[in-house]
Assembly symmetry: C2
Homo-oligomer: 505 residues x 2
């Protein structure tokens, strides 16, 4: 793609100054308009070293209102951050609605550097694929983010000149460049890498703007005009027509669940202690190995999520886990992409993040209550799978539980709560209202359980009419996951006995 | 203090279970009440290794609603975080109004560890003083935070037993303990340290709750009862009587400012380029040396803050600075202490954070418009100085500018803005309203400039009727600060010429 660029473009200083006066004002105007329209904007600056990205970004900053405008630099990402799922940094720094984020090098640079690094020191930094990049960008543009990607192209000759000039003025560079990343002595090799990158990621929703940057004036004007143009067009877009709900095969998982499974209180107590002891030791081993875990809980209201989570965490050291309750998004969360609030709560290395309700709200309550459009919840299956895949690729273990009870059991539990003065704050009119939509929810849950059940993030449906049975099954599933991850032989003796007892009931 | 504790206290399992049933419920109730009253709660668990803090915290977690409840562990603080101003981590993790934060070891542990560490590896981690600790806690309790501090005390014998037991069950500890921090083989030395710490920080507003923890049941009941008791009492407190405004000496700084100072456009242009070039090189040196900077801008409306900031940042590489505009606190910011939003925007190592308006809003607009009570703004001078002192002690350089113009000049600029179609969005009715209170503001500004002018964070009053002069003075002040920090000989020749020209006008 780069070879087709006209690198001879030049602009006189006079023409440049005149054009920039107008463009600068328009840029400020676009910022205000995007803010009023509550559209978030992400501008990516990629390209060669020595293409004077910094100068262009700085000129741009001079025109912008600093409120709601932020420049991010990937170069400052620490080694610790490099071990997190690849897009963590970018999710955590997503601009809120109406704000502008500028990336002074972005996920592209990070991928490039990681790829090169990977050859030398296998596994030290995390890689990603062009597929994940395209998915990430699609998720943003689908959610009304205005995404503008620039690649600043310079010829080998100009690059040499600019870099020499830099060294002469500055004495030395901002940071040492290791030979492996030295574009200037490997121009052809990097040209090839960049070509492949541009090819693979030049998409309809997030096309590249290739900029001939041998002439700084020309580059600056092209960049500014493109930004003004793209934002202007984006703000004039008509809302797209409603996406129809595609025909859905009626999946059926829940009706086949054997809700008669149960276990006696005495057996439960005995096993609970055993499981919790085992879990306690496994948590420490997982921590010391640096293995991170995410456990998500979904289930019917009064399905016993809280109780199961408490039995799980009772076995754990508070140093190494956090429980994240998920309710309807709050004022701040509503300013971001719906997956943002999960990315910002990723567990630290070696620890366990427990989510009481999860990102699956999108395909259940948001779908059924109309908080998400048909287009939004229908594409959510893919978005969620891509997120979980990325987590998994970074080494995180994932367990997802659906705590299943039947309608009669739920009625019994609601009534119990209402009549118990210590617990009646837990039951609200909303719970009763949701209950009326049981069948619709059942359909949505069935679809979710089938479509998002993957090898890297499988669903465990828990037979939960009997609370004892349910809690033990949750504990056992987590124990098995940890042991598998630690590549341990399962303690066969205890297991067989227990499993038999659990399965028999 | 610890010697006076009755370490023989024991509780039978039966009595313990019975008491805990009631206490657990009360604890949950207190959480809901604090949430309804929008009172944030911070619970600190300090004490000996082997005092079973983890078990107690975990038992507590079982009783609490995970929404708005979070456990933090200082042990996970990274070496990078250790280089930030000491309280950064704690400010950044402050609970919002109505939430509860539990600290599994806190600033006390961090100080202790840093002190010990400091003896071995001078300067690698940041220290703090008991004075800063007391100030920090006072700021919280003054702002209606409920702060509960526990020290779990165990005898040497119990400690040995508990630690041996831990190692037997767990095989190894969560993390390696270096000999310097090994309490169990230096019990007497640590006892002495802890005594001094408790003495120095047992204050009226944040007293220690010393817990005899040889018996776990006893400790658990004491901890739970104390929490219930403290929160209950705090929620019943009557609002204190209005604090009177203490008599203020009329300070006078502004009237002595020579607003006739100026410089011609031609001279300005020549100097601007020179200064910007020098600044560009200094920024890189500051970055490479890892020296961090905070620059705050205050001044009259239309005083030229924006223009001065733009001339400053035009010289800088966007990699190494961020501009933080400060307006009235937003929905999220209002949920926290008023200084919180500045702590969460501290610059990364080696970079520059520019604040367009600052934390001084408390003693200007908030004071005069009644957004802060007399008690609040009067204590703010000390709070702010303590914050700046801490920043400075961590190695951050601080510059604060007041851009001063007179009333006529402001009128002229307001009118210019109104008549300029590109700029008229910048002027609002509020600007005109503020102008009417000029005299009141002048009094507040005079007091602020005197009382918060310190060796580590001095105010520079900028004569700003002439924009050119003002911008150059800002640049020059920053250049001087950088050169001093880098211990450079100032470039005398350029300086003298320029200073003379600037001063002459």
């Amino acid at each position: 793609m780069l070879e087709k660029l006209d690198m001879t473009a030049r602009l006189s200083k006079g023409k440049y100054s005149k054009t920039m006066d107008t463009l600068g004002q328009k840029l400020g105007e676009m910022q205000r308009k995007a803010r009023d329209a509550k559209r978030p904007v992400i501008i990516v600056f990629e390209g060669w070293r020595g293409a004077r990205r910094g100068t262009i970004i700085n000129t741009m900053m001079q025109q912008m209102d600093a409120r709601g405008f932020k420049v991010h630099s990937v170069i400052k990402i620490s080694d610790e951050e490099r071990k997190m799922p690849f897009f963590t940094y970018f999710w955590q720094n997503l601009p809120a609605k109406g704000n502008i984020a500028v990336y002074h090098r972005s996920w592209y640079y990070l991928k490039n550097e990681s790829d090169i690094h990977f050859m030398a020191e296998k596994g030290k930094w995390l890689e990603t694929s062009f597929e994940h990049i395209n998915n990430f960008e699609k998720e943003l543009t689908d959610d009304n983010y205005i995404l503008i990607k620039f690649f600043l192209h310079v010829s080998e000759k100009s690059q040499q000149e600019n870099l020499t000039q830099n060294y002469r003025t500055l004495g030395k560079a901002w940071r040492e460049i290791s030979p492996a990343y030295d574009e200037s002595s490997n121009y052809k090799m990097f040209l090839d890498r960049y070509e492949k990158m541009l090819e693979a990621t030049d998409t309809v929703n997030a096309p590249w703007h290739l900029i001939a940057a041998d002439d700084l004036y020309n580059a600056q004007v092209e960049v500014f005009s493109s930004i003004v143009d793209v934002i202007d067009k984006a703000l004039q877009e008509k809302p797209t027509a409603e996406v129809p709900i595609r025909s859905v095969t009626a999946y059926d998982v829940l009706s086949r669940v054997d809700l008669t499974k149960g276990i006696s209180k005495a057996d439960y107590k005995e096993k609970l202690i055993k499981y919790q002891e085992r879990l306690r030791l496994l948590q420490i081993e997982m921590f010391q190995a640096g293995y991170t875990t995410i456990i998500g809980f979904e289930g019917w209201d009064a399905g016993g999520k809280g109780g199961a989570i408490r039995r799980l965490t009772a076995a754990l050291d508070p140093l190494g886990f956090a429980v994240n309750p998920v309710a309807s998004p709050n004022v701040v969360e509503r300013e971001f992409h719906y997956l943002w609030r999960f990315w910002i709560n990723l567990p630290k290395r070696g620890t366990i993040a427990i989510f009481d309700r999860t990102w699956y709200g999108r395909v259940m309550v948001e779908r059924l209550e109309g908080f998400a459009t048909a287009a939004e919840w229908q594409r959510a299956y893919d978005e969620i799978k891509d997120m979980e895949a990325q987590w998994s690729e970074s080494g995180i273990s994932i367990a997802k539980f659906w705590l299943h009870i039947d309608k009669d059991e739920q009625y019994k539990r609601f009534k119990e709560r209402e009549n118990n003065p210590v617990k009646n704050w837990k039951i609200t009119d909303e719970d009763w209202r949701n209950r009326e939509k049981w069948d619709a929810y059942e359909g949505a849950v069935n679809e979710m359980l089938v479509r998002t059940d993957t090898s890297y993030a499988p669903w465990t449906v828990v037979e939960a009419n009997n609370k004892y049975y349910a809690r033990l099954k949750v504990l056992k599933t987590v124990i098995n996951m940890f042991e598998k991850k630690l590549d341990k032989k399962t303690d066969k003796k205890t297991d067989k006995k227990t499993d038999k007892k659990i399965d028999k009931k």
